[in-house]
Structure formats: C-alpha cells, structure tokens
C-alpha cells in the first residue's frame, strides 16, 4: 500500500467515525426533543400455536425455544414489576398483565411448537398453579397444560405426578391428587415411592408430613435447577412452620404463666429462649401480639401450605 492510499484509508475511516458520531448525536437530540412513545405492555400478536408451527416449518423447535425464553422473560418481568409496585407506596393496583395473563398462551404456544418441551410443562405446573403474586393462581390452566403434555407423551409419569401436585397443593383436592399419584405409579418405569405418596396423600392429605413427602419426591425428580430450588425452599418453609409451632407453644405458655403479651426480649430474659430465633434462611422470626410468624423480609414468606393460615395480601 503506497503512502497516498494509506492516507486515503485513514481519512475515510476518520470521516466515517465522525459521521457515525454525528448520527448518534442527532438521534439523541431528536429523542430529547420528541420523546419516544412508551414501550407497550407485553403483547402476543399470534396466539395460535398451530399457525406458528406451520409458519416455522422445519424450525418449529427453534421457534419453541424463542417462545420459551419469552415465557421466562415475561414471568420474570411481571414479577419484578409487581415487586417494584409493592415497594412503592400508593402505587396503582396490579393490572391483568401483572397477573401473568400471557403466561398460559406463551407456554401453550411453546408446547404446540415443540410438544416434547418437558420443562415448559413443568414450569407451567408450578407458576400457573401457584397463587398470585408468585404465580398466576390458575391451577385449572396448569392442569390443562399438563394434560396437553400427556396427550403428546402418554407414558410421562412426571406429568401425572405434577397434575397430582397441582391438585394437592393449589386445589387442596387430596382425593384427585392421590388418584393422579396412583396413575403415575402404574406407568412402567415410575419410581416406587409414587405408590406410597398416593397412600400418604389419601390417608393424611393436607398435613405437613404428607407435604414434606411430596416436596421431597419433587426434589428427587427435579431435572432442573429452579424446580430443585423451589422444592428446597418449600422444605425450608415446612421446617420454619415446625419451628413456628414450637415457638408459639413457648410464647403461649409464657403468656399463660405471666399474663403478659410476650416479645422476644421477654422470652430471652425469662430464659425460655437462648436468643432471638431465626428461620432457616437466617432471618429473625416476628412475634407480634403474641403470634409468631415469618418476617415479610424472609425469602420463605409467604407460606401457602394447605394447613397453614392463608397469607395476607402484601
């Protein structure tokens, strides 16, 4: 390259950089002068998974991945928006979108595009069924999605187990839950403990022992990290509830003996407790008006086990 042409290259590069910078500045100035319209709420332009499957052709599974990512992002964004709203005093009440209205259509499209997308069904089982604000509070849709999965793979005992789980945990229909656990246990290759889970559910449906058995079962079969973590969190919640029961007994006993409403300081002073009690995550329990409860700042709050008091709306 001769010196003349290298000078031309440098000059062109500098000119291009200057022009690009000028373009960026102009765009920024225009956006300041004429602000962009607000980003619309999440929307779904095409609701028919079948149509999308036709359009995607040989790339349907790749399209399913895109809709799976959208589902996760939609859930995460809606949850974050809710958390921000709770943290802002006087904020507007949640809209339909905050209640994960699009979660089912997104998961439905994902599973139509790829009927063997195992995780999408299992994600739906948990987060469609779970009560608002952690989920959409629609166990009916969770079951519909899992039944769709069963139509695609009729021998998938995990979906049957999940339907039982939705009946147990979110509908508190222990008979239906036990039926599904039994159905799952009849599938060749299903683990032996499903049969005992069915028996426990029918005998002690709704008590903490059977809840623990169910979450331990889910922990064993969880193939993915978030489901495993959710099961671990639920088991910690159950542990916290056992501790709350013991603490409540101690507080009630103290109140009966002294005729005073207890607080932690008084209980420690009276040597009923060695120190301020902490939940399994290390957050102190609360003792308000004689009632022991989880702190709202604990990651275990709220608990929604069937035999626990329903959580109060935040």
């Amino acid at each position: 390259m001769n010196p003349q042409s290298s000078t031309a290259v440098v000059a062109t590069a500098v000119l291009a950089a200057v022009l690009l910078a000028a373009g960026v500045q102009l765009q920024a100035a225009r956006e300041r002068a004429y602000p962009l319209a607000a980003v619309p709420e999440a929307s779904l332009y095409m609701r028919s998974g079948e149509t999308l499957r036709r359009v995607a052709g040989a790339y349907a599974t790749l399209a399913a991945d895109i809709y799976w990512i959208r589902s996760i992002q939609y859930y995460g964004t809606s949850k974050q928006r809710f958390d921000r709203m709770v943290a802002t005093p006087g904020a507007a009440p949640p809209t339909a979108d905050h209640r994960y209205q699009l979660l089912y259509p997104l998961l439905d499209i994902t599973t139509t595009l790829d009927p063997r997308f195992n995780i999408a069904y299992r994600f739906g089982a948990v987060y469609l069924g779970e009560a608002y604000p952690r989920g959409a509070g629609r166990p009916d849709l969770a079951i519909a999605l899992l039944e769709k999965g069963l139509r695609a793979t009729p021998d998938k005992w995990q979906y049957m187990e999940d339907i039982g789980f939705v009946h147990y945990w979110f509908r508190h229909d222990f008979r239906a839950a036990a039926d599904w656990f039994k159905k799952a246990s009849d599938v060749p290759g299903a683990p032996w403990w499903l049969r005992s889970l069915a028996a426990t559910t029918i005998a002690q449906g709704g008590d903490r022992r059977s809840s623990r058995a169910m979450w331990e079962a889910i922990l064993q079969t969880a193939e993915i990290d978030w489901l495993r973590k959710d099961a671990e969190r639920r088991l910690l919640q159950l542990q916290a509830l056992d501790t709350i029961d013991a603490l409540q007994r101690a507080a009630d006993d103290y109140a009966r003996r002294t005729g005073q409403t207890p607080d932690w300081q008084a209980l420690v002073k009276a040597r009923v407790l060695r120190g301020f009690p902490l939940d399994p995550t290390g957050t102190p329990f609360e003792l308000t008006n004689g009632r022991v409860q989880l702190s709202k700042s604990s990651s275990l709050w709220p608990t929604d086990e069937p035999d626990a008091a329903p959580p109060t709306s935040p």
Binding site: A58, T61, N118
Partner: protein, 268 residues
C-alpha cells in the same frame, strides 16, 4: 471420472475464492454469542437451545449456500461466456453438470462438518467443569453423538436441494431458479399435508391430485430429525439409510434430467 473430479475441485476452489466459507465465522460467532446470552435469558435449557440453534443454523446456512451457489453453477458460466472454452474441451455436458454438482456437494460437506465441529465445541465449552449429572439435560447428554444423525440428514437434504437448484438453473434465470427452489423447499416440508388433503376438501379429484403431488414432489420433511435427536429419541439407522437412499434416487433423477436439458441447450 477424472474429468468430473477436476470440475468438482474447481467448483470447490471457486467457492473458497468467493468467500463462501466466511459463513463459518458467522456461524461460530452466532453460537458463541448465543451460549453467553442464553444462560442469561432462560432458566435452564440452555444446552437444548444451543443444540436447536446449532442444528437450525446449520440447516439455514447450508440452504442458502445450496440455493444461491447452486443456481449460479451453470448460469454464471453462461453469463461470463466461460462455457464456450469449457465445452470446446473433451468434456461432455453430463460430466459438466455432474462435476458442478459434486463440487458444490464437497463445499457443503466441508461447511456442514465444520459447523458440526463448532457446535460440539460450544456444547463442550458450556458443560466444561460441570459435574457429570449436570451435563445431562432432561432427555439427552450435552455432547450426544446422536446429534451427528441430525447433521447427516441435514447434509443429505442439502444435497437434494442443490440438485433442485442445479436442475432449475439449467433452463431458467438465476432469480426464477432461486424462487422455484425455495418454493419446492417449503412445499417439501409440508408434503404431509398434501397426503391428507382429502381431510380438508370434499373433491376426490383434487385429493387424488394432491396425493399424486405428494409422491412426486421431494419429501423434505423426512430429513428433519432435529427435534427427535435433541429430545434424545431414537433415530434408527434403518430410517437414516432409507431416507438417504430416497435422496440418492431423487438426486440421480434430477441430475439425469439436468444433464439432458443442458445437453440440448443451444449456446449460439
């Protein structure tokens, strides 16, 4: 045979000179960038998504190479008038068509092989340092050798698409050839609908016609085993062999017709 091989090697060299292999860099960048991004965007399933993306991209990149180079194999020679000195040599037109086809198939083979290697490299990188149980996604291991079955059938499908592109380019313009090849590619993936056309319409005549088209048009849907492989479902060797044999027969037919059409073309 030597003549055909010489033409094929020249086609391969020409595609290298035309920077066709640059798409491999793009492919590798796409996969590497995705492997970083997808972990942030999705809760688990990143290995499955990379597999889907890798196989999908292999198919798309290969399709574009097959169509856009395939349609130019003959027409470029005619356009540049390099066909005259070529035909003046002791080469039959059939040999020319076959050599061109083999050259592009070689280019595609190199492309697909490198893309498969890049896919495995990215998957190995993603699972590096993970405990053995975490290297398994729901249904199949991350570095599943069965992925090669999907890659093989993608390659076989691309060789069929190349034959289609070459066939159209022997008698029509490059633009029309590209449109016809893409059209047949799409139809080929929906051929199952042609088979069951009687479920949609009442006319037995139209249903018979659709069924006839189903048997005549290339059935490309059978080459798509990406989903089965990613979900760890078995793809029998017998299936691969029969599908490949179907492709071989169809390609042979297309090359024979292409050779015939090309041999009857008047370049005066």
């Amino acid at each position: 045979m030597r003549v055909t091989a010489a033409i094929a090697i020249n086609v391969f060299r020409e595609s290298v000179r035309d920077k066709v292999l640059y798409n491999l860099v793009l492919f590798a960048m796409l996969l590497i960038a995705s492997s970083f991004l997808i972990g942030q965007l999705t809760a688990g399933q990143d290995v499955k998504i990379i597999k889907d993306l890798g196989l999908g991209a292999t198919s798309v990149f290969g399709l574009f190479i097959a169509v856009f180079i395939g349609i130019g194999l003959v027409s470029k020679e005619v356009e540049r008038r390099s066909i005259y000195p070529l035909l003046a040599k002791p080469i039959t037109r059939y040999q020319l068509v076959l050599g061109k086809y083999c050259g592009l198939t070689l280019t595609l083979a190199v492309n697909v092989a490198v893309m498969a290697a890049a896919l495995y490299a990215v998957l190995a990188y993603m699972t590096w340092g993970l405990p053995p149980e975490a290297r398994f996604v729901a249904e199949s291991p991350a570095l599943d050798p069965a992925l090669l079955k999907a890659v093989l059938l993608i390659f076989v499908e691309l060789t069929l698409v190349t034959a289609l592109a070459l066939f159209f380019s022997t008698f029509s313009s490059p633009m029309l050839s590209a449109a016809l090849t893409f059209g047949l590619y799409i139809v080929g993936h929906f051929s199952g609908d042609l088979r069951n056309f009687q479920q949609v319409i009442d006319s037995p005549m139209a249903a018979r016609l659709a069924r006839g088209l189903y048997w005549v048009l290339p059935n490309l849907a059978q080459f798509d085993v990406k989903s089965d492989v990613v979900h760890g479902l078995p793809v029998p060797i017998g299936y691969i062999a029969m599908t490949s044999a179907y492709a071989a027969v169809y390609i042979a037919m297309l090359l024979a017709i292409s050779g015939l059409v090309f041999s009857r073309r008047d370049f005066k």
